[in-house]
Symmetry: C2
Subunit: 324 residues, 2 copies
Amino acid sequence: MSVVVPENQDVLVPLIEAELRRWIGPGENLMELVCLDALFPSGKLLRPILCLESAAAVGGEVEQVLAFAAGIECLHVASVVHDDIVDQEPVRRGRASTSEQFGISEALLAGDGLSMAGHAAMLSRGPADRALAASRVVVDAMRHMCRAMMRETEIREDLSCGVSTALEVIRGKTAALISAACQGGAILGGATPEQAEALRRYGEQLGIAFQIRDDLLPYTADEDITGKAAQSDVANRLPTVPVLLAHEAGTDADRQRLAEVFRDDVDTVTAYREVRDIVIRTGGAEQAAQRAWDCVEHARAALAGVPRPDRLLELAVTAVDRIH
Amino acid sequence: MSVVVPENQDVLVPLIEAELRRWIGPGENLMELVCLDALFPSGKLLRPILCLESAAAVGGEVEQVLAFAAGIECLHVASVVHDDIVDQEPVRRGRASTSEQFGISEALLAGDGLSMAGHAAMLSRGPADRALAASRVVVDAMRHMCRAMMRETEIREDLSCGVSTALEVIRGKTAALISAACQGGAILGGATPEQAEALRRYGEQLGIAFQIRDDLLPYTADEDITGKAAQSDVANRLPTVPVLLAHEAGTDADRQRLAEVFRDDVDTVTAYREVRDIVIRTGGAEQAAQRAWDCVEHARAALAGVPRPDRLLELAVTAVDRIH
């Protein structure tokens, strides 16, 4: 009797959380404690849910893919912990970031430990050829992510980098792993090469949409809704897609003001308010939202040849649903 | 025709270096540049050489194992780059450490990139069942290493932790990956389970010996020979095996002075000289050297059932040869 992936996230979330705990341990030493603190309370678990649902979409079973899905979440959280060191981010999901709470060295090592736990989980279940192929996809995505995070350190404060560079960073930083979660889950679930490719494209487009939505939140929602200091990207002088679209669409005066804010040590609150004003007034926010929705449509269209696409079609909308 | 691993490191080193370059790229972006700077000029390449020689010892071929061996070196160098961030180490092998030269964020991300390149290399060559089994061994070793590095942050300044704790840290920080390099190489090279286990034990004992030797260097060699600031462990208040053996063997006055040096902000040069004096006078250095040589003997004895042990028998001695 095969257990088909249940169609309800309320069932998947506790399964994923139990699997994450299984790979980290009960919290008996500093490594486990810091890792557990970074993982829990868990976020939306978008990547492991997409991984499991992608397996289900091609007829796979939960127990074939659960460890792999949990491994991807470990790799994702590891990258977040390290990213918060790079960005000197004190807050994550409304709580102190790992580096803020435990120190930079401890956060760095916990990120490495989480990453290795993720690899161990990914490699833990056969068949060997599928586990190897799926793990390669995820590792390639993580390499892409690392390159993009390094690239991001170079474009800080640089509004001349253009929308295409920001999109390239998004592809690496967010879309690559989401895409690999879908493709890898499909491979482990027994997908044909065509189905695995369809789920790769689905995940890639969804990942771009998801990140643009994330970049938009500071300009569309209250800080306590986003759970992250809304001013964070501005504080870090990161040129995101809405800001770069505003830079393109704005007047010379807008561009000059944006450049000043990104170059100078304007206080963060003032900088955030000015950027927000320009991003909304120039239509940068609206254009970015439109791009995100276009990606959602591309993602849904990619599912054409997939046997059971319903949950993924739905997830593509709900994952981006907070764009107003 | 199978190409048996040549018995000469002069042949292996350029092969490994070319493979490393193949996995990192030509240096066209910041990620590649920082990774290449961390990898080259290369060190002794002990881990990939042991990996290749372990494969050869059970009849394996270079081309089966070369990417895997290069992957292990990437993981090792990634851990060194991160360790130098944790220890705020300005010097590595006589040059500025990666974090000193490029900045902490860049070193952190390059470490992550090197790690992922390592995983990609490890997973790149089949047969799938061997690649999976060998990669699992290495990933488990890396998890052990991460836990040990975290543990090390806890025993800083703590001379009461005892020799057994320091040996436990050594097992994780150094012996685990060296052991996995030997075991993984053997698995990829077609070892029987007994042979793979023998090479695991060989690598573990050799790894412990190698690290004790490294911890001894500040007390037995000139700084320009070690290529690393001799005072570094003392500067970081890391209780190493020779120091803890001296702490056990010394008089109450020795113990009190060691405790003062490790607790107080004595200037590093004075602290180093005092510790060095006590480590040598109490016989801590001599005892540590004896332990290292015991491990070398255990390592050599582990090779009893291995078909072609000659090169590994020799390597066990030369890897630890700078203990006087």
